[in-house]
């Protein structure tokens, strides 16, 4: 049980990395694109726009956190 929990945690950290919002945002963007494309509406622009938005948001969140006093830096050094 403990090993299964550790494996689940490792898998989540591998995919989500330092910002879970990006992983959740990617899934949401793919679902939205699929829904729009399903109605035969041109949806090719949705993914790049979502990716740029997610990247900018994530960088902004990280920059604020890293510059704030008494907060630790990114946990992963890779």
């Amino acid at each position: 049980m403990r090993r299964a929990a550790a494996l689940a945690r490792f898998s989540w950290e591998l995919v989500a990395g330092d910002d879970w919002l990006v992983a959740v945002g990617v899934v949401a963007a793919l679902c939205l694109t699929a829904a729009v494309a399903h109605d035969h509406v041109r949806a090719w622009w949705l993914m790049p726009v979502a990716v740029v938005g997610l990247l900018a948001l994530s960088i902004r969140r990280a920059a604020r956190r890293l510059r704030a006093p008494h907060t630790s830096r990114s946990s992963r050094s890779g």
Binding site: L14, V15, A16, G17, D18, D19, V22, A23, V26, V27, L30, T33, A34, A37, H38, A43, W44, L46, M47, P48, V51, V52, L54, L55, A56, S58, I59, A62, A63, L66, R67, R73, S74, S77, G78
Partner: protein, 245 residues
């Protein structure tokens, strides 16, 4: 064009992760001896090769649209992580990875670790080398497998790229017998992040039912847009840092 980009993405991703794994392997090997260290690194390489060998062909059994949707999502998650970290480092918000410092830290740990033999191996050297190579290589192995979702199955091309990176980095490590601290890791990370994010966007979009204008020709356009956005974000971070100073 698409094949060249796939090869470059797999090669650069593998090279970056192997430089990081090499630092650990060298620190342990030079401090505690090579036999157990190389056994650990070799065992991890076998596990990674088995993962690619088993998952690559298995993916061909999954319906292509569903596969592209999942693979696109995974590539986007990995690519955006790499890109985010490289932008934060280039913008001065995060310290650059210092292979020399990590090497010294690992050597110190290896010196202090207690001796303990299992199955005729120095267990510390074996497990540290095994974990180092496995953890650094896992993401690359998943990327190589993910590229199998490409039309015609690109797993052979990307596996060859990973193999070429392994030979290059291991050869350089053998020659200099020191961590490859001069490799521009952050620039490579940025390039890999851009390529993974681009392929993730393209395949994820195709899996979601999108028709890209111009087909494959959309790939370099998306890449150029992401490059421009990343450069702008780096400039903004640097400017904010100057203002705050």
């Amino acid at each position: 064009m698409r094949i060249a980009l796939l090869f470059a993405a797999a090669f650069l991703a593998s090279a970056v992760e192997m430089v990081e794994a090499l630092t650990i392997v060298l620190a342990v090997g030079l401090t505690r001896g090579w036999r157990s260290t190389l056994a650990g690194a070799g065992a991890a390489a076998i596990v990674l090769a088995a993962l690619v060998g088993a998952l690559g062909p298995a993916l061909t059994l999954v319906p292509i649209d569903a596969l592209r949707l999942v693979v696109g999502g995974v590539l986007l998650a990995f690519g955006l992580q790499w890109l985010r970290k490289a932008i934060l480092r280039a913008g001065g918000c995060l310290a650059h990875r210092d292979e020399d410092r990590i090497y010294e830290r690992e050597r110190e740990r290896a010196r202090r670790a207690a001796d303990g033999e299992r199955a005729g191996l120095d267990w510390y050297s074996f497990t540290i080398a095994f974990k180092g190579v496995l953890l650094e290589g896992l993401e690359v192995a998943l990327v190589v497998v993910a590229f199998a979702a490409d039309r015609g199955g690109s797993v052979a091309i990307t596996a060859a790229a990973a193999g070429a990176a392994l030979v290059l980095v291991a050869g350089a490590g053998l020659l200099v017998r020191a961590p490859l601290g001069r490799v521009p890791e952050n620039t490579l990370k940025l390039a890999v992040g851009l390529m993974l994010t681009t392929f993730g966007t393209f395949w994820g979009g195709e899996g979601a039912g999108v028709s890209w204008p111009g087909g494959d020709a959309a790939i370099p356009v998306v890449l150029a847009v992401y490059l421009a956005v990343s450069a702008a974000l780096v400039r903004l971070l640097r400017r904010d840092r100057l203002v705050a100073a």
